[in-house]
C-alpha cells in the first residue's frame, strides 16, 4: 500500500472517528443495546446453569443485532446528512470502504469485548480455553464489520434504508453466527478443539478474508450510482 492510499484510508477513518466522538450516537446505542440484551438474557436465565452452547448462542445473537443496528450507520449517516456526494468528490471508493470498515472493526471490537465481559460476569460462565474465545471474538468482529459495512453501502441510497440495512445484513450474517457459536461453545467447555473448534476459527477467518477482499471491489462498482 503506497502512502497516498494509506493517507486516504486514515483520513476517512479519522473523519468517522471525529464524527463518532462528537455525537457518540453509534457507540452509545450499541453499548446500551448490548447492556440491555445481556441483562435481559441473564434475567431470563436467573438461577439456571446454562450450557456453553446456549451461552455462546445468546452472546452471538446479541452481537449480531448490535452490529446490524449500529455498524450500518457509517454509510446511512452520509446519505442522511447529505455528505455522500462530497465524499465521492474527495476520495476513492476503495479508500472509503477501507476507512469505514476499519472504523467499524474498532467499534465492533470495543462493543463486543465489553458485551462479552459483562455477559460472562452476569452468567458466571467459566472459560476453559480463553484464547479460543478471544480468537473467535476478534475474527467474528472482522467478519461482522466487513459484511455489515458492505450491507450499509448497498442499503444507503434506498428509501427505507435503515430497515433494509438490517433486513439484508442479518441473513448474510447467519452463517457467521453459526461459525461463531460453534467456535465459542468449545471455548466455553462444550466440545473439543478437534470437534469443530479449529474448523470454526478457520471458517471465521475465511469469511473475514472473503468479505474484506471482495467488499472494496463490490463497493467500487456501485460507488457512483
Amino acid at each position: 500500500m503506497n502512502s497516498s492510499w494509506r493517507a486516504e484510508i486514515l483520513a476517512i477513518f479519522r473523519k468517522e472517528w471525529r464524527t463518532e466522538v462528537r455525537s457518540l450516537s453509534g457507540l452509545l446505542t450499541a453499548l446500551l443495546f448490548s447492556v440491555v440484551t445481556v441483562y435481559a438474557i441473564s434475567f431470563a436465565a436467573l438461577n439456571t446453569k446454562l450450557q456453553g452452547t446456549v451461552i455462546a448462542g445468546m452472546l452471538w445473537v446479541a452481537l449480531l443485532f448490535s452490529a446490524a443496528s449500529s455498524l450500518t450507520r457509517t454509510f446511512l449517516a452520509e446519505e442522511e446528512n447529505g455528505t455522500a456526494d462530497l465524499l465521492r468528490l474527495v476520495a476513492r471508493p476503495h479508500a472509503v470502504f477501507w476507512g469505514k470498515a476499519l472504523f467499524n472493526i474498532v467499534q465492533c471490537v470495543v462493543t463486543s469485548s465489553l458485551l462479552s465481559i459483562l455477559y460472562l460476569g452476569f452468567t458466571s460462565a467459566p472459560v476453559p480455553i480463553p484464547w479460543l474465545f478471544g480468537v473467535s471474538l476478534i475474527t467474528g468482529c472482522l467478519s461482522l464489520a466487513g459484511a455489515v459495512t458492505l450491507c450499509g453501502a448497498i442499503a444507503a441510497q434506498a428509501t427505507n434504508r435503515s430497515m433494509l440495512a438490517a433486513a439484508i445484513s442479518v441473513p448474510l450474517l447467519l452463517p457467521l453466527v453459526a461459525l461463531g457459536v460453534s467456535g465459542m461453545r468449545v471455548s466455553l467447555g462444550d466440545g473439543s478443539l478437534s470437534s469443530g473448534g479449529f474448523a470454526s476459527v478457520i471458517g471465521l477467518i475465511g469469511y473475514a478474508v472473503a468479505t474484506l477482499a471482495t467488499g472494496p471491489y463490490i463497493y467500487a462498482a456501485v460507488w457512483k450510482t
Partner: protein, 253 residues
C-alpha cells in the same frame, strides 16, 4: 413445430410423473414408498445452485464488460444483463421453495417431524432468507439504474455465504454427525437402476422447463424495457423547445 414440442414435453412430463410412482422401492430409505419424493426433490437444489451462480455471472456483466475488462457504461446493456440476472434469481427462488417444500414432506415421512432442525434443512433455510433479501433490495430502490446496480452488488455479495451454507457448512465434521439427511447416496451407488433413470429424466425435464421459463421472462422483460425506453424518448420530445425560427412580433402594430 413449437406446439408439437410443447405437447411432447407435456406428454413426457406425464410419463415421468407416472413412472416416479411406479419405480420399484429401494430399501435405502426408512419409508421407501413415501421416499419417492426424492425423485422430485433432488433436481430442485441442483437447478437452484446452477441458476444462482448464473445470476451472479450476469451481475458481474452488469458492472464489467469482459471484452477488454472495461466497466460496463452502456445503460441499456446494464439493464439487459440485470434482466437476465433477475430472471435467473426468480427461477432459482422458485426451485429453492420447491426444495424446501419437498424436503419438509420428506422430513415428516422419514424423520417424523415437519421440521427437525436438521443442519441441511436449517442451512438451506438460511440460504432462502439470504436470497429473500435480494428481492428486498430490489423493492427498496425505485430508480431503475440504482436498482440494477445495488441488486447486482447484493447478488455477488450473497453468493459466497450461500455456497458456503450449501456445500461446506453441512459437511463440517460435527455438523455432519448431527445430520439425518442422506449424503452421497448417488455417488455411493445407493440410488441406481430404474430409480436413477427416473431421477435423471425428471432432472432433464426440469432443465428444459427452466430454459423455457427463463426465455419467456427475458423476452417479456425486454419488451417492457423497450416500452420504457420509447416512453422516455416521447417524454424527452415533449419537453424540448420547438424547432424553427421564432420571429419577434411588434405589439404596437
Amino acid at each position: 413445430m413449437k406446439t408439437i414440442l410443447k405437447a411432447l414435453f407435456a406428454l413426457v412430463m406425464g410419463v415421468a410423473t407416472v413412472w416416479s410412482f411406479k419405480v420399484p422401492d429401494i430399501a435405502y430409505f426408512q419409508a421407501p414408498g413415501f421416499a419417492r419424493i426424492f425423485l422430485w426433490h433432488f433436481p430442485c437444489p441442483m437447478l437452484f445452485t446452477f441458476l444462482v451462480i448464473t445470476s451472479a455471472w450476469f451481475s458481474i456483466r452488469v458492472f464489467f464488460n469482459p471484452a477488454g475488462l472495461k466497466p460496463e457504461t452502456d445503460a441499456i446493456a446494464r439493464a439487459e444483463w440485470d434482466l437476465r440476472s433477475v430472471a435467473c434469481m426468480e427461477l432459482s427462488y422458485l426451485f429453492a421453495l420447491l426444495t424446501m417444500a419437498t424436503g419438509i414432506l420428506f422430513s415428516k415421512v422419514q424423520w417424523g417431524d415437519w421440521w427437525s432442525w436438521d443442519p441441511r434443512q436449517t442451512s438451506f433455510l438460511m440460504v432462502l432468507l439470504i436470497y429473500a433479501a435480494y428481492f428486498a433490495v430490489r423493492l427498496g430502490y425505485s430508480d431503475p439504474s440504482k436498482r440494477t446496480a445495488f441488486s447486482a452488488a447484493y447478488s455477488l455479495l450473497a453468493l459466497l455465504p450461500a455456497l458456503f451454507l450449501e456445500f461446506i457448512f453441512p459437511y463440517l465434521p460435527p455438523i455432519k454427525l448431527m445430520s439425518l439427511h442422506p449424503t452421497g447416496s448417488i455417488l455411493q451407488g445407493k440410488i441406481k437402476g430404474e430409480y436413477a433413470y427416473c431421477m435423471i429424466l425428471i432432472l432433464i425435464l426440469f432443465v428444459i422447463m427452466s430454459i423455457y421459463l427463463y426465455k419467456i421472462r427475458v423476452r417479456t422483460g425486454l419488451i417492457e424495457l423497450e416500452l420504457e425506453n420509447n416512453d422516455a424518448k416521447l417524454d424527452a420530445g415533449r419537453d424540448s423547445a420547438p424547432t424553427g425560427v421564432v420571429r419577434p412580433v411588434s405589439l404596437s402594430e
